[in-house]
Symmetry: C2
Subunit: 231 residues, 2 copies
């Protein structure tokens, strides 16, 4: 095997700097040789809660949701993640099995590394491990803070919060195609589907947003922000 021949496009990966800034070229080649890239389509399950963890994965492109099923079969959505703020699962280093499910809510490209190989490098390269910890820490901080924010709002404020979340944080646009159903919004903010639909309709009647199916256009952002903060 001639190292000059190794095809390893990780070197060009946009995420390289984040995850591998403290990894040597040799290590990078070692890790990348065994990497696998998979494409998941909207709706596909990427990892399932309860399954055993033996891969380390990160999102190269797309959008995913983290969720958990209750005993009665209902889902609770924990958070949404896009590339750069999704670092495998929070529990890769603390549990043998996935605590949550991850599914694609937009077509997504996922890069998959063997967990043992990553762990071996983590054991030998403290700076890499610290990078990893920092990323995991940031991701969980975000989840906890977002949850607190949602928790202190009422129905309307929560729905406004979700719309602004997608507008400001995911799409950086005032108009976008909602990647999730009304039911999923409900599962995320902890309200019923009917009330989410009703609230969106109200916003439409009040000319705060325009709705064409899943396509949303924010018409009066100031008011939406106001509702998110005080409503």
């Amino acid at each position: 095997m001639n190292s000059g021949n190794i095809k390893c496009d990780c070197e060009d990966c946009k995420l390289k700097s984040l995850f591998f800034s403290h990894v040597t070229v040799d290590e990078l080649i070692d890790i990348c040789e065994i990497k696998e890239e998979r494409t998941y389509f909207k709706g596909d399950i990427i990892t399932k809660e309860g399954d055993s963890i033996n891969e380390f994965l990160y999102l190269k492109e797309g959008l995913v949701k983290l969720s958990k099923s209750t005993d009665e079969g209902k889902d609770q959505i924990i958070s949404f993640s896009k590339p750069f703020d999704f670092v495998s699962l929070l529990s890769v280093f603390s549990s043998d099995t996935y605590q949550y499910s991850v599914s694609a809510i937009e077509d997504s490209h996922v890069c998959i590394l063997d967990l043992n190989v990553v762990k071996n490098h983590a054991r030998q390269n403290a700076l890499f491990t610290m990078d990893l910890m920092k990323r995991v820490s940031e991701a969980t901080d975000k989840i906890v803070l977002d949850n607190l924010e949602i928790r202190r709002k009422h129905l309307k404020g929560r729905v406004a919060h979700v719309l602004l979340y997608f507008a400001n944080y995911i799409y950086m646009k005032e108009e976008f195609e909602l990647p999730i159903s009304r039911r999923e919004i409900a599962e995320y903010i902890g309200m019923t589907t009917e009330n989410v639909i009703r609230t969106l309709s109200e916003f439409r009647k009040d000319k705060i947003i325009k709705i064409f199916g899943k396509y949303i256009q924010i018409a009066d952002k100031k008011r939406l922000e106001n509702i998110s903060e005080f409503g």
Copy 2:
């Protein structure tokens, strides 16, 4: 300075195995030489959100709450922690400032290390860093899972959940002195103080618990568990 003379009782610390299982004796001495131990009394603030982080701390004894203030000055309680599941703050490695406040809800002993010294060791000792990451990961997993559980319950179920939490997880007893006020229970489960009080009264009237001020005695655990799960 004679190393034989260094008084370092970290060697006997119950938490040593958790945080320093992969630390050499020399490193341990280095870290412990600059350690400081502080006692906080019930109600004392240990760290305050917004303050800059320059210490690494862990709880040797006692009970603390993590909380965050809203703009209107109301508090939201994120979680409670006892020794072994409180590893400094979740954000020590991801942020310069504390995202949450930590305060003692029982008299507590806290061990304080210089963050830079700990970080230095983390940079050089990958196994230590992995231990740390595992601990942080476990702590945040617990917070997220607990929050999901509370979120899917109604008032009564939430109050029952809190009572069972203290009985099963904190005190391992069916009777205990509640370390927090009714208002704090409300801040934790996201309901109003009045409704927490009312619910406790109801439980008392239904002979599920006995109440003497802050002293709680669980009289019918089966029913309380039932309410926690389905109510």
